[in-house]
């Protein structure tokens, strides 16, 4: 008793204590994509090693894949992207790893397909050469990003070297008001604790707001843990988790199901579990958030003004000035009303079916403002199919959005979807770093899908609650 989920799951996966004092930890599920894996497979070839547990790694392609259907035929126009695509096809084939390529019906952003296939389950250790692996913590697993050397370690041994983290409980009480979503909650948490507040910690999210969240909302929340510096963020598994997983392709079936649920319950934090730190937030008072700067911690509620430089400590001031200069904003200025050029709804943060359902619901009957380019990009082929079955793609198209094929798209600059020049993008992705969306001078404002929809139809940062009459 008195144990939290993090320590229970960690302990069950420890293989040995390494000479460095670090732990050798078994990684139960390894997800692989085309960007961070080719050098790892090359190392295995060089050392004549095979993949130790080929049935515990699953690969897809997401970062480099064009989202315009005309650009998806092979060979890809970008020869470097084509080379990467060929590399993952060959590597997975040579080493006997499952690969979900385009047209398989299972391709998509790695953090969207893991959960929807039922690969992601409570109590697992999950790693992927991608920092947003924290997403999978929504199921009560320890899921974290790794570098390519560790991808090679896991391929060769199914284990990696890890230190034990501290655990911070983040409790969000109350009820969110209409127009406020998981994206706003996590932006508010990062704003409060800082972009490096989570270094050395795993975050356990709990409280009324989190319990009431759907699995997709929990994924949005856990996804951005890393933006707050926490490599891992998780939610204890509950009925919502089990209901989501039931009947998915890789979920336990038949008699195993009940035993699995029992096991999953046993790894949740005990009622009297102890934590290294506890932080509470009042969800009822939250408003929709928008970032104004160049880190995900630089956000304000849509009805607030951008903070003044003077309100920061001396050591923080240079970064605030740098952000204002890069974004071409005045300190103390209102964020509402700032014109946008591009709107992007998608990514592993907000590219799931409920994100598109919510956005389509409010977009219906509106038109994208003149001069605004608006993209909707499903996170996976399955999301695309589900959205089309509901006619969501038509709702968006009628309103003047482009409906694209699944991939990372404009979240980062590795495929043809890019900002140009100094364009400002209202984006549902997770990073507003300088140059992140493909133009070295491009500007990103992070927000929820509803807020991005409001920006699309008004052509500027707007309070979605007012635009769509959400009460």
């Amino acid at each position: 008793m008195k144990q939290n989920l993090y320590n229970k799951v960690f302990d069950r996966h420890v293989v040995s204590r390494l000479s460095s004092g670090q732990y050798q930890v078994l990684i139960g599920l390894h997800l692989v994509h085309e960007v961070t894996s080719p050098q790892a497979f090359a190392l295995l070839r060089e050392r004549r090693l095979k993949v130790r547990f080929p049935n515990r790694s699953f690969a897809t392609v997401d970062h480099i894949i064009p989202t315009d259907s005309k650009e998806r035929h092979r060979p890809l126009q970008d020869s470097l992207a084509e080379e990467m695509l060929q590399a993952i096809e060959k590597n997975t084939k040579d080493f006997g790893v499952s690969y979900f390529g385009p047209e398989s019906g299972k391709q998509g952003i790695v953090h969207v397909i893991g959960p929807e296939l039922g690969l992601t389950q409570p109590g697992m250790t999950i790693a992927c050469g991608d920092s947003h692996t924290s997403t999978h913590g929504a199921f009560g697993s320890l899921a974290f990003g790794i570098g390519t050397s560790q991808v090679a370690d896991i391929l060769a041994t199914q284990t990696m070297s890890l230190g034990r983290l501290k655990v911070r409980k983040i409790q969000v009480d109350g009820k969110l008001s209409p127009g406020v979503y998981a994206k706003d909650v996590i932006l508010a948490i990062i704003r409060k604790l800082g972009v490096n507040g989570g270094v050395g910690y795993a975050y356990e999210y709990c409280g009324e707001v989190i319990s009431n969240f759907s699995m997709e909302e929990r994924m949005t929340l856990c996804n951005m843990s890393i933006e707050g510096g926490a490599r891992i963020g998780y939610v204890n598994p509950d009925e919502t988790t089990f209901e989501y997983l039931k009947g998915r392709p890789y979920s336990p079936q038949g008699a195993d199901w009940d035993k699995a649920v029992e096991y999953w319950r046993s790894i949740a934090s005990d009622a009297d579990a102890t934590f290294d730190d506890v932080v509470t937030l009042d969800g009822s008072s939250l408003a929709p958030h928008v970032t104004w700067g160049i880190t995900p911690g630089q956000s304000v509620a849509v009805d607030e003004n951008i903070p003044t430089v003077a309100s920061f400590s001396e050591s923080e001031k240079p970064l605030i000035r740098e952000a204002l200069e890069y974004m071409d904003l005045q300190d103390g200025q209102k964020i509402e009303g700032l014109p946008v050029n591009v709107v992007f709804i998608g990514s592993c943060t907000n590219g799931r079916i409920s994100d598109f359902q919510e956005a389509a619901r409010v977009v219906k009957g509106h038109k994208v403002a003149p001069g605004v380019k608006a993209l909707v990009v499903p996170g996976s082929e399955a999301v695309d199919k589900a959205a089309k079955a509901l006619g969501l793609h038509e709702v968006f198209r009628e309103a003047g959005f482009e409906w694209r094929e699944p991939g990372c798209s404009m979240c980062l600059a590795m495929n043809p979807d890019k900002l140009k020049g100094r364009e400002i993008c209202a984006s549902t992705s997770n990073r507003n770093f300088k140059g992140r969306q493909g133009s070295p001078a491009g500007r990103t404002l992070l927000m929820s899908p509803i807020m991005a929809a409001a920006a699309a139809v008004t052509g500027k940062v707007s309070d979605a609650r007012k635009v769509f009459g959400l009460k």
């Binding site: 050798q24 570098g147 390519t148 060769a156 041994t157 050395g200 740098e322 493909g438």
Partner: protein
């Protein structure tokens, strides 16, 4: 290679200062250079957009500055290497010539990636970082030594640095890249796997 030949107990060379908090991996190596299947040639693109951005304003980025070419010890501020898990970031720095990094704090995945590549990252408090920045900037040709046994940085001034005991012993023992040691425990891996219902399939 034996672990002995991989032992790293000190790094020496000239310093290069890079001020600024929250410098993310997208800035260290812009995503367009991740379209590759090897890490070759990444060094020349380190900080490419930041370098260009400053040039356009008639300023100069440290990685562009002739004074700091050939430097091996990078001095940074707070939360260096945040963002993406791309090992391409430390690979780019390493291929540019960086062998050790000293800063106020590091993002966790970046720190771990550096360990796997044999690049020690050590920390100091903000006031010490300021003193070191000034020392490196005012005398770019000075030689610095980072001693991982005594946890000291010494050059024109001497300061104590911090490194957690785990990574410190990884460098001291030459086990910073753990793959060989991980491979030596494969039977125990099978044993742990057999007890995990979702891996063994026995619920």
């Amino acid at each position: 290679m034996t672990a002995d030949s991989l032992i790293i107990t000190s790094v020496s060379g000239r310093g290069i200062p890079l001020r600024g908090n929250d410098i993310d991996t997208d800035r260290i190596i812009p995503a367009r250079y991740l379209r590759c299947v090897t890490f070759d040639g990444l060094g020349e693109h380190a900080f490419e957009d930041d370098r260009r951005g400053l040039k356009a304003k008639n300023q100069i980025h440290s990685f562009e500055n002739p004074d700091f070419q050939g430097a091996s010890i990078l001095f940074v501020d707070k939360n260096f290497g945040c963002g993406s898990s791309r090992e391409h970031a430390p690979q780019a720095l390493m291929r540019w010539g960086i062998k050790a990094i000293l800063g106020v704090s590091f993002a966790e995945i970046f720190f771990g990636n550096c360990v796997s590549l044999g690049i020690p990252c050590v920390t100091v408090d903000e006031a010490t970082a300021q003193k070191l920045f000034q020392a490196v900037e005012s005398n770019p040709s000075a030689n610095w030594t980072l001693d991982l046994n005594t946890l000291q940085i010494s050059g024109t001034i001497n300061e104590t640095v911090i490194m957690p005991a785990g990574p410190q012993s990884q460098f001291q023992s030459g086990q910073w890249n753990p793959m060989n040691e991980l491979l030596s425990h494969l039977p125990e891996v099978d044993e742990v796997a057999a007890h995990l219902p979702y891996v063994s399939g026995r619920w």
